[in-house]
C-alpha cells in the first residue's frame, strides 16, 4: 500500500477506505475490470463469499494476487504491467478476444479513475487537456462496453477544483457512461441526468459534499453514513 493510500486526512475517506466502500457494492458473480491505481485496491476488500472474476485487457480472466518476488513471470502481467498470478478457473486469450469481452458487454463492471464526470454520465479520464502525449489504453473500450461503469476518485482535485462538474472540459473518454462515483466524501449515483448523493463519509455533511460538487447534487434522499473498518 502506498503512502497516499494510508495517510490521514482531515475529513472523509482514505484511498483504502474509498476502495473498500466501492468493493462493498461489487455484486456476487461479477466479471470486473479494475483500472490502474485506486480501483485495483478494491479487489482486496470484496466481502468474503462473493465470487468475483477479474479481467485484464491483455488477455487474462481470473488473475489473482501478485506473486512472491522469486515467482515473477514477466509474461504474466496485468494491464498495469504488474506481475500477477492465476486463480483456479482462469483463462488466457488474445487481445481481440479480450476486447470482444469488453465491447460485447460481457464485463459486468469497470471500476475506473476519473478526471471529470458530468451528471449526464460523461467521463473524462484519459487526458487532462490537449498537451503532452495522448495515451488512451483500454479506457474508451471499457467505458463503452462494460455493463456498468463506476468511478473511484477524490471528490476534488489537489487544488480543490470539483471533479464532478456540469460538463467535462477535458477530452471525453465516453459519453453517458458512468452510473456511480465513489469519492473520499461519499457515494454519488447518476440518476436521470443528475448527481444523487447516496452515502457520506464520517465527519462529512451532505451539504459539504454538495458544496464541493461542481453541479447540482441531490441530497434529498436517504443517505447512508459510511462506516469504514478501522
Amino acid at each position: 500500500m502506498t503512502e497516499a493510500a494510508t495517510k490521514p486526512r482531515a475529513a472523509g475517506l482514505t484511498r483504502s477506505q474509498m476502495a473498500w466502500r466501492a468493493a462493498q457494492d461489487i455484486p456476487d458473480g461479477a466479471f470486473v475490470n479494475l483500472g490502474i491505481g485506486m480501483p485495483e485496491l478494491a479487489a482486496q476488500y470484496v466481502p468474503e463469499g462473493r465470487q468475483v472474476t477479474y479481467h485484464s485487457e491483455n488477455g487474462i480472466l481470473g488473475f489473482g494476487e501478485g506473486p512472491a518476488p522469486e515467482d515473477v513471470d514477466w509474461d504474466l502481467i496485468n494491464a498495469g504491467k504488474k506481475p500477477v498470478t492465476l486463480n483456479p478457473g482462469a483463462s488466457i486469450f488474445h487481445h481481440a478476444d479480450s476486447f470482444a469481452m469488453i465491447r460485447g458487454g460481457h464485463i459486468d463492471l469497470a471500476l475506473l479513475g476519473a478526471f471529470q464526470i458530468a451528471p449526464n454520465g460523461d467521463l473524462a479520464n484519459w487526458r487532462a487537456g490537449n498537451e503532452g502525449i495522448p495515451a488512451v489504453g483500454g479506457a474508451m473500450d471499457l467505458v463503452s462496453g462494460a455493463k456498468a461503469v463506476w468511478c473511484i476518485t477524490e471528490h476534488t482535485t489537489k487544488t480543490g477544483e470539483p471533479k464532478l462538474v456540469e460538463s467535462c472540459s477535458y477530452p471525453l473518454t465516453g459519453i453517458k457512461v458512468v452510473s456511480r462515483i465513489y469519492t473520499n466524501l461519499g457515494v454519488v449515483h447518476i440518476e436521470d441526468g443528475r448527481f444523487v448523493l447516496k452515502a457520506v463519509a464520517p465527519g462529512v455533511t451532505p451539504e459539504e459534499v454538495a458544496e464541493k460538487t461542481g453541479a447540482f447534487l441531490d441530497i434529498s434522499g436517504e443517505i447512508e453514513r459510511i462506516a469504514p473498518p478501522a
Binding site: 465470487q51 472474476t53 489473482g64 501478485g66 486463480n87 478457473g89 483463462s91 460485447g104 460481457h106
Partner: protein
C-alpha cells in the same frame, strides 16, 4: 486481491437450464452437420415447449431427431443458416416449400462473422462475400480502396445451445476436434449460453492456456456424459420424441 476462485456457473439438468425459454426466442444452435450438434439440449427444448423460435444453425436438421424434430414439431418460425439442404432435411424442405417456415440464407463465413460480431459488440461490418449476388440484395454497399463490400449486421441470440467435451465449473470449455465449429462464437453471442459437456471439471483442472471458450461466455452447464451423435442416431433411424 481475493484468493478465492472466480465466478462459477450452475450445473443444472437440461430441463432446468431451459425452463425459462420464451416463445419467439432466437436460439443459436451449435454444430456443423452432426458434429458438435447438441442433440440432448435440442430434445430438452422440444420437451420444454417454446414456440415460434428463430433458429440459427449452419444447417436445418437431418432425419427425425434434433433440429429436424424441432422443425417437424412446428416449433420453428424461421431458420437462419447457410445450407438448409441435407440428405434428410425433408422436414425443413417441406415446411419451407409450403410456406410454413421462413428462411434466411447466409453465406457460411458471413454467418460465422455475424455471430462473432454479435458477441463482440460490433453492430455491423463489411465483407466482400456476396457482392454482386442475390444474397447482397437490399444490403448497403460501400467502397473501400476501390472495391465494393457489403455491410452485414450482427446476430445475437436469447439462447445458445452448445456441445462441448469438457467444461470446468467456471464455464471454461474445450471441444473435441471439429466439434468446436460454431460453439465458441455462439456462446459469445447469446444472452444465455447453455452448454452440455461430456465431462465437468473442478476449477483449476483445466490449463488456462488451453481454454477454448472462457467461462465468461457461458451461463449454464448441463452434464451429459456419453452424448449421442446426431449422425449415429440418423443412421439408426432414431426418432424423437
Amino acid at each position: 486481491m481475493t484468493k478465492a476462485m472466480g465466478v462459477t456457473r450452475p450445473v443444472m439438468t437440461a430441463e432446468e437450464a431451459l425452463a425459462d425459454v420464451k416463445d419467439g426466442a432466437t436460439v443459436l444452435i451449435g454444430g456443423f452437420g452432426g458434429s458438435g450438434n447438441p442433440v440432448e439440449l435440442i430434445h430438452a427444448l422440444i420437451d420444454q415447449g417454446a414456440r415460434e423460435l428463430t433458429v440459427v444453425n449452419n444447417n436445418a436438421g437431418n432425419g427425425e431427431v434434433g433440429l429436424a424434430a424441432l422443425i417437424r414439431e412446428g416449433r420453428v418460425a424461421k431458420v437462419i443458416c447457410s445450407f438448409p439442404r441435407s440428405a434428410a432435411s425433408h422436414h425443413f424442405n417441406e415446411a419451407y416449400l409450403n410456406g410454413r417456415i421462413e428462411l434466411e440464407t447466409v453465406p457460411q463465413g458471413t454467418l460465422a462473422e455475424r455471430i462473432r460480431a454479435g458477441g463482440s459488440g460490433i453492430p455491423a461490418f463489411y465483407t466482400r462475400t456476396s457482392v454482386g449476388t442475390p444474397l447482397a440484395e437490399g444490403k448497403p454497399v460501400a467502397t473501400f480502396d476501390g472495391r465494393d463490400y457489403v455491410q452485414e449486421r450482427a446476430i445475437t441470440g436469447d439462447l445458445a445451445l452448445v456441445k462441448a467435451s469438457r467444461a470446468d465449473r467456471c464455464g471454461n470449455l474445450q471441444f473435441h476436434l471439429a466439434m468446436r465449429n460454431f460453439g465458441p462464437i455462439m456462446c459469445m453471442a447469446a444472452t444465455c449460453a447453455v452448454v452440455q459437456a461430456d465431462e465437468i471439471l473442478e476449477p483449476g483442472e483445466m490449463d488456462p492456456e488451453q481454454v477454448v471458450t472462457p467461462g465468461i461466455f457461458v451461463n449454464r452447464l448441463v452434464h451429459v456424459p456419453g452424448a449421442v451423435q446426431e449422425q449415429v442416431l440418423f443412421e439408426q433411424g432414431a426418432r424423437y420424441p
